[in-house]
């Protein structure tokens, strides 16, 4: 079972006051700490679990600069066998479509039975790369998957639907699966893992090597402006002792039809 996992390094934005950059095209990232996208952490763990059970290889891929190698080293330390980084220069010139083109170009020449991506990335939350890549590579797919079982030449996946519904699908291999958080419990990185990772292959490729031109990668979606949600009127601050506040709150919620 050969599994390719596409991963991304994202800024930690919890409990941070985000600041819009001067061009109003994104947020300032220079003061932010970066980590492996949470969904991708589950995806790499799932791939390693499958490998540990059924044998095979796990390859982690990212498109990004040298700093982004940090997340590939993490994947290697967790147990991936090799990693590939595509050096694509200024990343701000790509939308999801461009990223999909690049990733697909790498993946198509690798041996694989399964391709995993996270359902979405923590930073821009588009959730497009997985599904677009399945199309680009002409692969069967299953999305928002919370359980995977291998069967002969197939995978049985469980997906989470709106309202708590579950859906079980059987998908022929090769296939692309987008992994939902909670599918497993990602392991911690160990010192031994870090040591081993240093000896594993981390290959760097550039766009010329992949044979994709900037023209093909031109964005389909262009960001006009990024802004913080305007402060709205209408917040009502309840005051008084806790009993009074609770009473007032119940009254308001009942009036608005939220509570009966």
């Amino acid at each position: 079972m050969d599994i390719v996992v596409c991963v991304k390094r994202v800024p930690l934005t919890e409990e941070v006051d985000l600041v819009i950059d001067a061009q109003k095209k994104g947020v300032k990232k220079d003061q932010l700490a970066f980590v492996l996208n949470d969904w991708d952490n589950y995806a790499i763990e799932e791939a390693i679990l499958l490998k540990e059970k059924h044998g095979g290889t796990v390859t982690a891929i990212t498109v990004g600069n040298e700093d982004d190698e940090e997340v590939l080293r993490r994947c290697l330390a967790m147990g991936a066998d090799r990693a590939i980084r595509v050096e694509a220069g200024d990343m701000s010139r790509f939308d999801s479509f461009g990223i999909v083109k690049i990733l697909s170009q790498v993946v198509k020449d690798l041996p694989y039975d399964l391709v995993f991506t996270g359902v979405l990335a923590d930073d821009d939350s588009y959730g497009m790369v997985g599904m677009m890549m399945a199309e680009e590579l002409n692969l069967n797919h299953s999305s928002m998957v919370t359980a995977i079982e291998l069967e002969d030449g197939k995978v049985r996946t469980t997906s989470e639907l709106e309202g708590g519904l579950g859906e079980v699908s059987v998908v022929d291999l090769p296939a692309l699966i987008t992994i939902q958080t909670g599918i497993n419990e990602p392991r911690y990185v160990s010192i031994l893992g870090i040591r081993k990772a240093a000896k594993k292959e981390l290959k760097v490729m550039d766009l010329a090597e992949l044979g994709v031109s900037d023209g093909e990668l031109a964005p389909r979606a262009i960001i006009e402006e990024v802004y913080l949600p305007p402060e709205t009127e209408g917040a009502q601050i309840l005051t008084g002792d806790p009993d009074k506040i609770a009473g007032d709150l119940v009254e308001i919620l009942t009036k608005k039809g939220v509570m009966e």
């Binding site: 190698e69 940090e70 990185v189 010192i191 870090i194 040591r195």
Partner: protein, 381 residues
């Protein structure tokens, strides 16, 4: 000159931070309140390779440098100093075995520490001798054929009650004219007859860590438990202190960093006089000072550890790191609590714990005063 950590070191920092943030916060308050610890945490950390990182490959450890040890200690301490000590100091003193022990001793004592199956500690301090270690005369070992018979007591011994074996500083040659040649280091398994440990309660801080008083009553150990040469105990103690003083300094940096992180979060949220505390200059200055001192302390730790890893032991640099970082942590924890106001005085706020935890870094492995004496002695000679 390069101020960047290597990639491997950065990955170690991330791994240690993630483990500490994932495992410690849920337990820290409980361990502190009840003065307990859960050994499964120690085991988990050991399985991930965070324990006994200095233990060489051939004895089951990763054989990393002091700097890596310090990096892990800072990360663990920034989340909870008590748990950091309980986990990481579980191999305290194994440095002596690795440097001075026989091959047989290294094979016996080191691998179980790296794997987390055993806990050790080092017993120097006595009820009547702390800073002035050479004056320790309460605990003696007398040779009878091929055993040592140990009698006496030790005080404030970390892991005294939980350890499987303790390396003990005992007087073996009371008549030697050189007071620094009167002691030896002897390994004592804690299940030997006549050995007793009494877990001390009511500590101010690092309450997840076991501290005990020990008593030895005709404890018989084979002479093969002598670690290093007879009479070499004081030199072996100094060898250990030179390493672990830097580690305690890293603990102090972590504690101070935890205090800064708590403060930044708090002052941005807390409103007074219609504005966040963070908007007041006296608060801003505290935050700026804390950042500066922590950075200065960390640089001292890094340099001292790095030089030791390069083979240079500079006692005055080590003492500077230990004394500066200890005082700095106490000051930072104090400022952090002050910025939290009444909330900081409550047990459920982490700053309260950090305030209490910080102080130990000025006491063990050589008090602030002793470190200053070491520096002055070197500078004025």
């Amino acid at each position: 000159m390069d101020f960047d950590l290597s990639k491997e070191q950065k990955d170690i920092v991330s791994a240690a931070r993630e483990f500490a943030q994932g495992e410690f916060p849920d337990r820290a308050e409980e361990f502190d309140r009840d003065e307990t610890f859960d050994e499964t945490l120690h085991k988990k950390a050991a399985e991930l390779g965070f324990v006994g990182t200095f233990i060489k490959d051939e004895y089951g450890g990763p054989g990393m440098g002091l700097l890596e040890y310090c990096l892990i200690f800072e990360e663990f301490s920034a989340v909870d100093p008590g748990i950091a000590v309980a986990i990481l100091i579980s191999s305290y003193g194994a440095e002596i075995v690795q440097e001075f022990g026989s091959e047989e001793q290294k094979r016996r004592y080191l691998p179980p520490l790296a794997s987390g199956e055993a806990v050790t500690g080092s017993a120097f301090t006595e009820p009547d001798a702390g800073s002035d270690l050479a004056s320790a005369t309460t605990t003696t070992a007398v040779r009878e054929n091929d055993v040592y018979v140990i009698n006496g007591s030790k005080m404030f011994i970390t892991n005294g009650d939980r350890a499987d074996y303790l390396i003990c500083f005992v007087q073996t040659d009371p008549d030697n004219p050189d007071r620094h040649r009167r002691h030896s280091m002897i390994m004592v398994e804690t299940d030997r007859d006549g050995f007793e440990a009494n877990h001390l309660t009511g500590k101010l801080g690092v309450r997840a860590s076991d501290t005990a008083e020990l008593s030895f009553s005709n404890v018989r150990v084979p002479c093969s438990n002598l670690v290093g040469d007879p009479g070499n105990g004081f030199a072996e103690a100094m060898y250990l202190f030179n390493l672990d003083r830097v580690v305690v300094a890293a603990q102090a940096v972590g504690t101070a960093r935890g205090a800064l992180e708590e403060s930044i979060q708090h002052v941005k949220k807390r409103i007074a006089f219609n504005a966040p505390l963070a908007s007041f200059q006296s608060i801003q200055f505290k935050i700026a000072d804390m950042f500066t001192w922590i950075q200065a302390g960390r640089n001292l730790v890094y340099e001292a550890a790095w030089r030791i890893d390069q083979g240079t032991i500079d006692p005055k640099l080590i003492a500077a790191a230990k004394s500066f970082c200890g005082q700095m942590a106490v000051k930072c924890a104090d400022m952090a609590l002050q910025m939290h106001g009444g909330y900081g005085y409550l047990a459920e706020y982490k700053v309260q714990r950090l305030f209490r935890d910080a102080k130990i870094t000025e006491i063990y492995e050589g008090t602030t005063e002793i470190e200053k004496i070491i520096m002055a002695r070197n500078l004025l000679k």
